[in-house]
């Protein structure tokens, strides 16, 4: 296991940044700062008394208008370890269910002096709406539709760097429903910025069509390619990342059957042997065991799935800390 970049970050705070909507507007220094801070937070997380007073007196509201367990709990735990007051709001039983608009919900939370709103929403771009209208509360995007999931991409980057060091020239294969995945999208942009080669693999109906057909695209094509054949895609990979398959999507006719999907795109032991020795096996969760990954792999030596979860808490601690504890934030 290699040590993460030891060089001291050139900056020490994300201020005056108040929002994390996606990674596309992060400088390289900012990413290094978050990943470096994540390393310190992992140390805090490993203590027997998991509590530091860094964010005492800060109010974080999690607004999850789409079902989620892992990400919400991860943010909540991150906030609590840092001594912030964390208040959780969800879709059911909230004013959203009574027909209150997203904007009015956001304005209400801001009026309650929330320092930070961590939000998830079924619609791509929903956090941008609040970012346009909320002048005081910060916003962290915890997943918007099929657009972005920046904290997931950061924790994935951290996990990869922790094991591989620099990602320059590394081959990362992302498998599954790429077209509808905010995890894939954020990782594609994050990884290609870090110099990795990304190969997207899955059914042709679930890959970005314009990449498949070589048309004008938003994806950075210098680093990103598509391949429907998993046996080819996985060849020589440093990281194998399987995405969650939504059964609704299957029933919608995107693929013939789960059986067909499993046969062609499941990561199996035989397929993992085509990857580089010691290649990392990752999955953002929640996993459909026996579909995206063979069960033997899901609990095997190569998998970094539980480590991703741990790193997720540390990454979110870093994000919250750097957003709320900067000189600007305390002013």
């Amino acid at each position: 296991m290699t040590t993460p970049q030891a060089a001291a970050p050139a900056i020490t705070s994300l201020a005056p940044r108040r929002q994390v909507l996606d990674l596309d507007d992060f400088t390289r220094e900012e990413i290094d700062l978050v990943l470096g801070t994540t390393e310190s937070m992992r140390e805090v997380l490993g203590r027997s008394i998991k509590k530091v007073p860094s964010l005492r007196g800060k109010i974080i509201m999690t607004l999850f208008l789409e079902p989620s367990t892992r990400t919400r709990v991860s943010f909540e735990q991150a906030g609590k370890i840092l001594s912030a007051d964390v208040i959780n709001l969800s879709g059911s039983g909230s004013s959203a269910e009574k027909g209150e608009s997203l904007l009015n919900t956001g304005l209400t939370l801001q009026a309650m002096h929330a320092d930070l709103i961590v939000m998830r929403h079924k619609d791509s771009g929903a956090p941008y709406l609040l970012a346009r209208h909320l002048k005081h509360a910060g916003i962290v995007n915890a997943g918007d539709g099929r657009h972005a999931h920046p904290s997931q991409a950061l924790l994935d980057l951290y996990t990869m760097r922790r094991h591989l060091g620099s990602l320059e020239g590394r081959k990362v294969v992302i498998i599954g429903d790429v077209a509808h995945s905010r995890v894939a999208r954020s990782n594609i942009f994050g990884l290609s910025a870090a110099g990795a080669r990304v190969v997207l693999c899955g059914p042709p109906t679930l890959l970005p069509l314009e990449l498949l057909r070589g048309r004008d695209t938003a994806y950075p094509t210098a680093n990103v390619s598509v391949e429907t054949d998993l046996d080819k895609a996985i060849d020589g990979a440093d990281v194998v990342m399987a995405l969650r398959i939504q059964t609704e999507r299957m029933e919608g006719g995107a693929t013939p059957s789960m059986r067909e999907y499993t046969r062609r795109w499941q990561v199996t032991e035989a397929r993992m042997r085509k990857a580089r020795p010691n290649a990392l096996l990752m999955h953002p969760g929640p996993m459909n065991e026996g579909i995206e990954l063979a069960s033997s792999l899901a609990h095997g030596d190569a998998q970094r799935i539980e480590e991703q979860v741990t790193n997720g808490v540390a990454t979110r601690m870093a994000l919250l800390y750097l957003l709320l504890n900067g000189p600007e934030a305390s002013a």
Partner: protein
């Protein structure tokens, strides 16, 4: 309002429908054009100095959503007509996606009554193809035609069922009226609000592919060929759709098409915010601009160019606004949930003039597509609206092709402030609109002068 004669002096009279283009005097009397060209000196007239301005027939909008009855919080016939007047439009065709829909004679009567109350801007009604626009049962088209509708459409929605469209074309042909289809194959476009291009990919939004329009245009052309009916493609937006219409016209089919100002001037990039100027860098909080959400969506750069080309070569007959006013909260939502459409009437001319100033479109062609083109949709009952020949209705717009102005939605007469052009500087301004011989919009004095005069 006045019934005094109006004399516009020393104005460029551009009457493309009658191949007349001269600088001289235009005299309007008793609701009609009395004389054009030369110099006249009637003693009782209101005199307007038209120096360096252009007078053309009032613009005709074949496609406006005036929202009444049913959605009066978005617009009323009166506010829509006032918005039209500010935009230089003297005739508006009200789309039937109201509540109740304009699907029987009584609702037509109501709309036309409200229009008369609103004043001299002509508001005509378009009837629905199916009851409640639900796609199940044909409306009584003969009754609707008798009440005065100028066309049939379920706009907002396509006539999804091909046999229904066949039947509608046959009935409408019998009445001499067009069936206007909103060409969108829902099985391909469900849940989309943006063109299926690079911006959709960038934003993680489900895209409406060009094929979603092209497939229904192709179907409707085939049905027009089969029935001999008149198919008019509403708000055409794709290069492929334009090519299909071009070939159908070459085959001699009764097919016409319109395009909106926004599909002629804006592209998918506008959804990134910053009025289309945002480059391929990081997104800003202005991204997911719901004011650029419209159906059909703003398309790719090549589609926009193809629309201009199709307008020039006669494939597309007219420019129609698809004016779709919405309230603030209808648009202040996550992108997928926000309503579709732009408030267009008051910016149409100014935004379209960019095509003229940019050398893409001759002024004469622009005026033709705002007057002669749509007038041809309206039939003999509304003849003479697209010319300034003496004896025709005194529907006139007077504009300064070079005046620059800033779009201030607070000044809109329309209730719909939903335009991505807010704050934009447009070059080309409507200065005076006269409908049926009456001044319905007077913007002769530039705003700056007014302010100076007040202070």
């Amino acid at each position: 309002m006045t019934t005094r004669p109006i004399l516009i002096r020393n104005v460029r009279i551009l009457d493309v429908g009658d191949a007349f283009d001269q600088v001289g005097d235009l005299l309007l009397r008793d609701g009609h054009v009395a004389s054009r060209g030369g110099h006249v000196s009637p003693s009782d007239a209101i005199v307007i100095d038209g120096t360096s301005l252009v007078a053309t027939p009032g613009f005709i909008d074949f496609h406006a959503h005036l929202r009444e009855p049913g959605f009066e919080d978005k617009e009323t016939i009166a506010t829509g007509a006032a918005a039209g007047a500010r935009g230089g439009f003297t005739t508006l065709c009200a789309m039937p996606n109201t509540n109740p829909a304009i699907d029987n004679g009584t609702v037509v009567d109501f709309v036309l009554q409200r229009a008369r109350e609103a004043g001299p801007v002509r508001v005509l009604a378009v009837g629905a193809v199916t009851i409640g626009r639900a796609g199940k049962v044909l409306t009584d088209m003969e009754e609707l035609a008798g009440a005065g509708v100028v066309a049939f459409t379920d706009d907002g929605a396509p006539v999804a069922d091909a046999r229904m469209m066949r039947n509608a074309l046959l009935y409408a042909a019998d009445l001499g009226l067009p069936v206007v289809d909103h060409c969108e194959d829902y099985t391909l476009t469900k849940g989309t609000g943006i063109h299926d291009g690079w911006v959709a990919s960038r934003l993680g939004l489900a895209g409406y592919p060009s094929a979603g329009e092209e497939s229904l245009v192709a179907r409707d052309i085939a049905l027009a060929g089969m029935t001999g009916g008149w198919f008019h493609a509403a708000h055409l937006s794709t290069a492929g759709g334009a090519e299909l219409v071009r070939r159908a016209k070459q085959r001699g089919l009764r097919v016409t098409a319109e395009v909106t100002p926004h599909h002629l001037t804006m592209t998918e990039e506008w959804v990134l915010g910053h009025q289309g100027r945002h480059a391929r860098g990081p997104l800003t909080a202005a991204a997911y601009d719901t004011h650029a959400k419209v159906s059909p969506p703003l398309r790719a750069i090549d589609d926009r160019a193809a629309m201009v080309e199709a307008l020039k070569d006669g494939t597309i007959d007219s420019i129609a606004t698809d004016h779709a006013p919405h309230t603030w909260s209808d648009k202040t939502m996550p992108f997928d949930d926000a309503n579709v459409g732009l408030s267009v009437l008051e910016t149409a001319f100014g935004s379209l003039m960019a095509l003229v100033h940019g050398g893409e479109l001759p002024l004469e062609t622009l005026i033709r597509k705002l007057t002669v083109g749509p007038a041809a949709m309206l039939g003999p009952r509304h003849a003479g609206l697209a010319t300034l020949r003496p004896g025709t209705p005194a529907d006139v717009v007077l504009f300064d092709p070079n005046e620059e102005w800033v779009v201030d939605t607070a000044r809109f007469a329309s209730k719909g402030k939903n335009t991505p052009l807010r704050g934009a500087t447009l070059k080309g301004r409507v200065r005076l609109t006269i409908a049926q011989g009456q001044i319905v919009h007077d913007g002769m004095q530039p705003e700056t002068l007014k302010k100076v005069a007040r202070s």
